[in-house]
């Protein structure tokens, strides 16, 4: 592996010149993190609110109306529609008109005083587990008894308290993960396409006829994108801090170091793809083949702990899984990089293996 700095610098300078002129790619560098963080920062929200509901209030007393009003106050349900029977509630559930049906039986007040039986029934559309768990939280709801005359005060009822703080809590969790998701998508794609494009345009046939070595070509292609990746990290962090008040509890330097290793891992994977793909379309397909499991298995969207063993093993191979642990550890728990050294090693090993594979696979030959 001979390395000439003159040639390496030639490749580097050329990449920068080309990038500067490629307005679309340049726009994507800034635009993708910008758009995605604004979009997902607001949209990805595991704290569900405003579920449509219906009530069959067969009791129709002041207390029962109070119950419905209190449920509305939690913001979990919204725009209650009134029906007469439980069967009608079921129909509405089946039709998908409502997510929650509230059945208040005629003997509601009497049941309230007997702690042996539940006073009312919640019918929940459990097809989405997140909705189910949110709706179940209604059962723990307190029922503020304002009618002192009736003096019903069972011990398990607490004051109604809106303990949902949806925007903030979800964004804190989502934004650090978004760094990983955005870097995985842009970095793998950029490098994969960068080399495939040269092959498609015929530039590569000329380049491989010059003394430039594979290592020079690969490293020269990667370095500009590492810098671009770090710029993206900065954009996401700044937006996360100012727009969503995401804390950076650890050291900023650690965030950049962790991101730097993660970017290198993704870029070398992009290089592997570029040695396999014959055209830009294939490069794109292969990138997404890799991107989707990264998104779903890494712990970005679903907890790693909940996955079966086989999925966990696959997830351990993906760089994003390790980055999720690193970035959440540093940004949210305030951990230091040295405390998470296993994740760092995993990323370094991944980078070395993929990079070597890319250099070995990329031949200065056409056959």
């Amino acid at each position: 592996m001979k390395l000439s700095l003159t040639r390496l610098f030639a490749i580097l300078q050329k990449e920068v010149q080309q990038l500067r002129r490629d307005r679309l790619t340049f726009g994507m560098i800034v635009g993708i993190p910008l758009m995605q963080i604004i979009l997902f920062g607001f949209a990805i929200n595991t704290d569900v609110r405003n579920l449509s509901a219906a009530v069959a209030d067969q009791s129709n007393t002041q207390l029962s109306r109070q119950l419905v009003a209190d449920m509305l106050a939690t913001q979990v349900i919204d725009r209650v529609q009134h029906v007469n029977t439980g069967a009608q509630l079921k129909t509405l559930l089946d039709q998908g008109d409502i997510k929650i049906g509230i059945l208040i039986p005629a003997d509601f007040e009497r049941r309230l005083q007997q702690s042996s039986r539940p006073a009312a029934q919640l019918m929940i559309d459990g097809s989405d587990p997140i909705i189910l768990s949110t709706a179940q939280s209604l059962t723990k709801m307190s029922f503020n008894q304002r009618n002192a005359a009736k003096s019903i005060k069972p011990p398990e009822l607490f004051e109604v308290r809106n303990y949902y703080n949806p925007e903030r809590r979800s964004a804190v969790f989502v934004v650090p993960g978004l760094i990983g998701a955005i870097l995985t998508m842009t970095m793998v794609l950029f490098t994969a396409v960068a080399i495939v494009r040269e092959r498609e345009r015929g530039n590569l046939e000329l380049l491989i006829n010059t003394p430039v070595s594979t290592t020079e070509l690969m490293i020269g292609k990667i370095i500009p994108y590492i810098i671009i990746g770090l710029i993206q990290v900065a954009i996401i962090m700044l937006l996360g801090m100012f727009l969503f008040h995401v804390p950076v509890n650890g050291r900023v330097l650690d965030v950049y170091l962790a991101s730097g290793i993660f970017i290198a891992a993704n870029l070398s994977l992009g290089l592997v793809i570029s040695t396999v793909a014959k055209n830009q379309f294939q490069a794109m397909q292969l990138t997404f083949f890799f991107f989707l499991p990264s998104l779903l298995l890494s712990g970005f969207m679903f907890p790693f702990e909940g996955m079966p063993r086989a999925a966990q093993i696959i997830a351990e191979i993906l760089p994003m899984t390790h980055f999720m642990r690193l970035i959440r550890g540093i940004m949210l728990r305030g951990a230091e990089l040295s405390q998470l050294s296993m994740e760092v090693y995993a990323l370094v090993i991944f980078t070395i293996i993929t990079m070597s594979f890319a250099i070995l696979r990329f031949k200065k030959r056409l056959d």
């Binding site: 000439s4 003159t6 040639r7 610098f9 030639a10 490749i11 300078q13 050329k14 010149q17 080309q18 002129r21 490629d22 345009r201 015929g202 530039n203 046939e205 000329l206 380049l207 491989i208 006829n209 010059t210 003394p211 430039v212 200065k364 030959r365 056409l366 056959d367």
Partner: protein
């Protein structure tokens, strides 16, 4: 290998699965000459050039280029050869100067030399005024000059040009060849592939390729003198009937219409070409005037490949 030769190959063969793209080619290419590969598309010209610069590994046979074994020593060789691909392969989103500067760096030229050489080639190839123009916006001829400038920047001993003139007009082609002769005067060896007869005729030496085989090899003049056929021109008021009558007759290699005339190639075995053709036409009751004429390079090409040339694509 004789050090006087730039390229020698022995039984050079390249297969792609079932297809034999290059079939036992034995080449001897002397230094400081323009050596031409003439052949139709798919005859193995590009594959041979790629084998010579180490881009492809031969299936069998051996090659040495500038006394280096290829592909084993191809990396050392790359500093000494210049390669111009069939397709424009410089960066369209870089300017003329940036492209040349990039190539100069890739060949590890020191800064001072880089400046002088870049300026030199821009002057030689009349690119000075285009220095700041993007390569993607150049005309066909300008692109070709830029490609040649980039390929000669590092003063290679050997230039490999793969159909360099396939996309430019005749005047540009002529200018291009003037440049090539200048380079040969300066001591460069040039290997050029083409499917134009006029270009092939300008080469010092020529190899005609057909289906991967080298079917003729020599100086264009010699090839025309030693052609294995006689050429008879037939003038007639019914040129289509003449063609129809002569086609598929024994000893007739090909019949090509040139305006009102038919150019007929007759195998040397026949001996009396002119009277043979006259006789064939008389027996078909066609009035025609036959006379023998000098063979052209195209006649050589048709004779050795034994098939009708496609229009404008030989």
């Amino acid at each position: 290998m004789n050090p006087e030769n730039a390229i020698e190959s022995i039984d050079l063969t390249k297969r792609f699965g079932e297809l034999v793209a290059v079939d036992h080619v034995n080449l001897v290419i002397p230094r400081k000459r323009i050596f031409g590969f003439l052949g139709p598309n798919g005859s193995g010209k590009s594959t041979t050039i790629r084998l010579l610069c180490g881009l492809l590994t031969p299936t069998s046979g051996s090659v040495s280029v500038l006394n280096y074994r290829v592909p084993e020593q191809a990396e050392i060789l790359k500093q000494k050869i210049g390669y111009m691909t069939q397709r424009f392969s410089l960066y369209e989103d870089l300017t003329v100067f940036e492209n040349l500067n990039f190539m100069a760096r890739i060949y590890s030229m020191p800064a001072a030399q880089r400046r002088t050489r870049t300026a030199e080639v821009m002057e030689t190839f009349r690119l000075d005024k285009l220095a700041k123009q993007f390569a993607g916006t150049l005309s066909g001829g300008q692109r070709q000059r830029l490609s040649l400038a980039a390929a000669t920047l590092h003063r290679p001993e050997l230039l490999l040009l793969d159909e360099p003139t396939s996309a430019v007009d005749p005047q540009t082609r002529r200018d291009f060849w003037d440049n090539l002769f200048q380079l040969v005067d300066d001591g460069t060896t040039i290997l050029v592939s083409t499917h134009y007869m006029d270009e092939a005729e300008r080469c010092h030496n020529l190899a005609i390729l057909d289906h991967g085989r080298m079917v003729a090899n020599g100086e264009p003049e010699t090839l025309m003198q030693e052609i294995n056929s006689d050429v008879v021109e037939v003038e007639s008021k019914q040129p289509r009937q003449v063609a129809h009558t002569l086609k598929d007759k024994i000893h007739i290699i090909s019949v090509t219409q040139l305006g009102a005339r038919q150019r007929v190639l007759v195998s040397k075995q026949q001996g009396e070409a002119q009277s043979y053709v006259q006789q064939l036409l008389d027996s078909a009751q066609l009035t025609a005037e036959c006379h023998a004429t000098h063979p052209s390079l195209e006649d050589v090409f048709v004779t050795v490949t034994c098939k009708q040339p496609r229009t404008g694509d030989i």
